[in-house]
């Protein structure tokens, strides 16, 4: 344990054990660096004290931009830029715009949310995975702390039922 910013982590084999370990760590006021899980664990977010994700707000904003883009875009195209009569309807035929407006709303919201998520999480093409253990993508869970010399993290991991303890 000589290098700086080392990470110490404990691997758990069961989500219930993991949840009680996280609870214990919170009670001891440990500063949890991260928790890894192959699937979303129910009740983990409130235990970690994580704030609600703001991704859906981004989704709403992107969706609203999509709505406006489609609706105002078609309004401009069909009334000012290139007015054509379709099927004897008026130039500004709102009902005909609705399906395209809906589609662009969904398209903008979904692409916008994916891009926001990638940017916020630091993901992207060519980003190297910082996976602590390959099994964390399969059937193991882990809690990681930033290690310091005088910590009792090892004792914590042993007492809360971790199967292995590792450093990275």
């Amino acid at each position: 344990m000589s290098k700086e910013n080392k990470i110490i982590y404990g691997i758990y084999g069961d989500e219930e054990v993991l949840l009680s370990a996280v609870k214990e760590a919170r009670e001891r006021h440990y500063d949890i660096q991260d928790v890894y899980s192959p699937f979303p664990v129910h009740g983990l977010d409130p235990l970690l004290g994580l704030a609600e994700s703001r991704l859906h707000i981004a989704g709403f904003v992107f969706g609203a931009i999509g709505t406006l883009t489609a609706f105002l875009g078609m309004t401009w195209i069909f009334t000012k830029d290139w007015p054509i009569i379709f099927g004897g309807k008026p130039y500004w035929s709102v009902p005909a715009f609705i399906p395209i407006t809906f589609e662009l709303t969904v398209l903008f919201a979904s692409i916008g949310m994916v891009v926001s998520f990638y940017v916020v999480s630091g993901l992207g093409p060519g980003v190297k995975s910082k996976l602590l253990d390959r099994r964390l993508t399969d059937d193991k869970f882990c809690i990681s702390f930033e290690n310091s010399e005088n910590s009792d993290y090892e004792e914590f991991f042993r007492s809360t039922g971790a199967e292995e303890v590792g450093v990275a």
Partner: protein, 431 residues
């Protein structure tokens, strides 16, 4: 408090509500035209609305059983009790059917036998003659009894098996397996028969017009109303101290259904509207032209109330958790879909009444009132172009009757089923 007791002030309030409804129906009868069009159309409107709500409850129980769903188990007795209203519902619709049979009313243009006689060249109606193998008085009454009778059979079977399961512990869940069979058989029957019943009960008031989407659109309206009523009933019962295991997560799921099926309803409404608007065929556009010209307030309010309000209010996650916001939207949407059925039924019935009037010099002095109204179509006609106070009173009466039947059946069985295989999942439901 696992057993609901139906007594005291609730019973008094509901009986008073039924009395208001009866008084309003009676008053409507007194001030009505010769055919009692307003009375019968209000009767039809509310009977269809509440019978449909109880049908969708039975349908949704079957869906949940077939889909191995467990989230609703602790309050499934609410849906079972709602589906029990099918039994009064068949009586209400049979009264309408007998009315068609014996010409007590003239709600349906096709029930006029003079237009179906090919030798009567002046009045012969080729379109309605073509439809007369389906739209005739025998099938109206017979079909109503057969189809709603089938619904009652399956709804009762599912409810009684669910109650039976309570005192019948069995590691193989044989009762639940039997329920699953009945539910799976019921689903296709419900899907096809509900469409047929909507054609004859609702769509045939505009007897020349048809739309293939109409049945789905009306069923979606019933379904949203059923979810809204369930939410209101659960909030009420929780306030009275029952159903303490029903947590905000269950309300959240119901809120999601309210949100999702409001959007689904809008999707169907718009799909029907846009194709007819785009196709621009006179026989089809007449349906929307009537409503757009003579019912503009209801026409646009319908979309605003039933789409914009649930969509914008319930969009946020926490709005679906809070009893206040979900409850208010449920009340608005319930009234909104009642109004939606008003808009489906009244224009066609009014049109039929107007056509009937000029022909009937023999109809006596009352016939002229309708004929007079026909000259001023754009005028405000309370009870036809807008729900009047009598309509609201009748709605309250039917709602009270519906809740009276509902609470009676709810008190007959424990509120939370004991041996349902999904009970544990439902108790730990978490979203």
């Amino acid at each position: 408090m696992n057993h609901f007791e139906f007594k005291g002030s609730l019973k008094t309030v509901l009986l008073a509500g039924i009395l208001i409804g009866v008084l309003c129906l009676g008053w409507t009868w007194m001030i009505d035209d010769h055919n009692h069009t307003r009375f019968w159309s209000n009767f039809l409107h509310n009977s269809v609305f509440f019978t449909g709500i109880s049908f969708t409850a039975a349908f949704f129980i079957a869906v949940c059983i077939t889909a191995y769903a467990g989230w609703h188990t602790i309050f499934k007795r609410v849906w079972e009790a709602i589906s029990a209203f099918l039994m009064p519902g068949i009586l209400l619709m049979a009264i309408i059917g007998l009315g068609v049979y014996f010409h007590w009313h003239h709600l349906y243009h096709w029930s006029d036998t003079a237009i179906l006689d090919p030798s009567n060249t002046a009045d012969f109606d080729k379109v309605l003659y073509g439809k007369s193998s389906f739209l005739n008085k025998n099938w109206y009454l017979g079909g109503t009894i057969i189809i709603v009778g089938l619904w009652i059979f399956f709804a009762n079977k599912l409810r009684l098996l669910s109650v039976l399961e309570d005192n019948f512990e069995d590691s193989h869940f044989s009762t639940h397996r039997t329920m699953r069979k009945y539910a799976a058989i019921f689903l296709p029957i419900a899907g096809f028969s509900s469409a047929a019943i909507i054609w004859q009960w609702v769509m045939s008031v505009d007897s020349h017009w048809y739309s293939t989407l109409f049945a789905w659109y009306a069923t979606a309206s019933w379904f949203v109303s059923m979810i809204a009523l369930t939410i209101l009933i659960l909030i009420y019962l929780k306030g009275k101290g029952y159903f303490h295991q029903v947590k905000r997560d269950h309300i959240h799921d119901l809120g999601k259904f309210l949100f999702a099926f409001s959007v689904f309803w809008t999707y169907l409404w718009f799909s029907q509207f846009m194709l007819i608007w785009y196709g621009n065929v006179g026989e089809e556009t007449i349906y929307f032209k009537t409503r757009y010209d003579h019912y503009p307030v209801l026409f646009f309010a319908n979309i605003f109330i039933n789409f914009a309000i649930p969509f914008l209010v319930l969009m946020r996650n926490d709005a679906k958790y809070k009893f206040g916001s979900v409850g208010i939207v449920a009340i608005i949407v319930l009234l909104g879909h009642w109004m939606d059925f008003f808009l489906m039924l009244k224009p066609g019935i009014y049109e039929t009444a107007m056509h009937a009037a000029p022909a009937g010099e023999a109809m006596g002095e009352h016939g002229h009132e309708v004929a007079h109204a026909a000259e001023h179509v754009s005028n405000f006609v309370s009870g036809f172009t807008m729900p009047g106070l009598l309509e609201l009173g009748t709605f309250l009466g039917f709602l009270a009757f519906f809740l009276f039947v509902f609470f009676t059946f709810l008190s007959k069985a424990p509120l939370t089923p004991k041996n349902d295989p999904y009970l544990d999942e439902s108790l730990h439901h978490h979203v």
